[in-house]
């Protein structure tokens, strides 16, 4: 982004391979998004648990609908309890539905982007209302060759990479200085100016963020790239035709109440 300091410290994530397939790139970014949403208290539990909970709520809602529509004679108190529970479940589902939809849209955009631009090198995740008012910024740099995978299925390498990234960021205290309260997650990518996905990405020329916020910069490198910074096979391409694009889909955190301590 404009105003960025190229000499800022990077957190290097060293891969055991010389290149990274596009599916792995997708899964790492996707998992990282889930991680920072949780660690920055934007969601009450990890996304996998939320998905599971959502499925359970849907199933329960379906059962309650069947029960209440049933002509079986039941005590009034039972029907009231079931109706009340159905309202509660519906409310919880609605809250989560919007969130899950936004996550799904962002994921789809990311997949389309990576399919169009497999050699994507820089992705920026901003937590905050805008890049000018960021609360936290994470920048993912992919400094190694790319191979195109046929689909976005999760490989062992992708799992291992996600694990490594998340453990590294936990050790660095990611999210430790966050405050509760919903905010937005914005996705920016550096891609060729010819990128044409107007339903998902819009150019953001002259993108800059508040200089007071230091981004956390992660750099994915192969082993030989880490040992020899002049190894050309592992260095990023130096295309000058790259501009920033902002994803049209943002994720808004959920507000959830953390009760005071019990005795």
């Amino acid at each position: 982004m404009e105003g960025e300091d190229e000499n800022s410290d990077y957190v290097d994530i060293i891969l055991p391979t010389e290149s990274l397939d596009t599916s792995a790139v997708f899964h790492v970014v996707n998992d990282f998004i889930g991680f920072i949403l949780f660690m920055h208290q934007q969601i009450p539990s990890v996304i996998e648990e939320m998905s599971q909970e959502f499925n359970e709520l849907q199933a329960e809602y379906g059962d309650l609908e069947v029960e209440l529509a049933s002509s079986e004679v039941k005590p009034l108190s039972t029907r009231r309890k079931q109706a009340s529970r159905r309202r509660e479940v519906k409310m919880r589902m609605k809250r989560q539905e919007n969130f899950m939809a936004s996550v799904s849209e962002l994921k789809e955009s990311l997949q389309l982007l990576i399919s169009e631009v497999p050699e994507i090198e820089k992705i920026s995740l901003v937590l905050g209302s805008s890049p000018l008012r960021p609360l936290h910024v994470y920048e993912l740099n992919f400094s190694l060759g790319r191979s195109v995978s046929g689909n976005f299925s999760r490989s062992k390498l992708a799992e291992s990479l996600s694990r490594k990234v998340i453990r590294t960021m936990i050790s660095r205290g990611a999210g430790s200085n966050s405050c509760p309260g919903p905010t937005k997650l914005l996705l920016f990518v550096k891609a060729p100016s010819s990128l044409n996905l107007p339903l998902h990405f819009l150019p953001k020329r002259g993108l800059r963020y508040n200089r007071k916020t230091m981004p956390d910069r992660l750099r994915f490198m192969c082993r030989t790239g880490a040992m020899d910074t002049h190894n050309e096979s592992c260095m990023p391409s130096s295309s000058t035709d790259l501009i920033w694009f902002q994803c049209r889909h943002t994720i808004k955190g959920l507000s959830f109440w953390t009760p005071p301590p019990e005795d």
Partner: protein, 196 residues
């Protein structure tokens, strides 16, 4: 003052005991249905209802603090380590190391302590969510590192440290009460993809 100290120590130990139970649930060491969801420290946590596990953890906290030996209160307890091992081979797969330091720090409210425990729980949840599933039956054990001159309960025996060779290490937040500070470090068996 003495009673406040006792309360803070209990928070430290109870916090650690609740975290242990949560780890056992999340790592699938016991069936999910043997855990009950409760609210502790402002978070939903999963406490084991298995009588054997409950008794084990309860005895553990009693033996480490609050009984005649008062290892924690006397500052003689250095670390408590939760070790997860393969039931079949005994290989150590994970090692959760809780180091305790006796220090006098600034006064802390229960709310602050709770926030710190919440932060650690988030880290644990994240760490576990992306960890490899333990797809073989596992068992756990607890080690305590004490000062050499510490009198230990007779039910405890000396042990090897049950270390993992070339582990992946994850450092979690520390949390502290007025009297003790607890640092948490997790060691995982390395991924085959990370081996040189």
């Amino acid at each position: 003052m003495a009673s406040k100290t006792a309360i803070k120590d209990i928070i430290t130990l109870r916090g650690s005991a609740a975290i242990v139970s949560d780890i056992l649930y999340n790592r699938g060491l016991y069936p999910a249905e043997s855990f009950a969801r409760v609210k502790k420290y402002g978070l939903p946590m999963l406490l084991s209802q298995d009588e054997g596990v409950k008794a084990f953890i309860s005895n553990l906290t009693t033996q480490l603090s609050g009984n005649k030996l008062k290892m924690l209160e006397a500052g003689k307890l250095q670390r408590v380590v939760l070790v997860i091992m393969s039931r079949e081979t005994g290989e150590v797969l994970e090692r959760w190391n809780f180091s305790t330091e006796t220090e006098v720090s600034r006064e802390k409210s229960d709310t602050e302590i709770m926030r710190e425990i919440q932060a650690i729980m988030r880290q644990i949840a994240s760490s576990i969510a992306y960890s490899l599933c333990l797809d073989e039956p596992c068992v756990f054990d607890v080690l305590a590192y004490t000062d050499k001159d510490c009198t230990v309960p007779f039910t405890w025996i000396e042990s090897d440290p049950k270390l993992i060779t070339n582990p992946q290490m994850v450092k979690l937040h520390s949390f502290d009460t007025k009297i003790h500070k607890v640092d948490t470090l997790v060691s995982y068996k390395n991924d085959e993809l990370d081996e040189p």
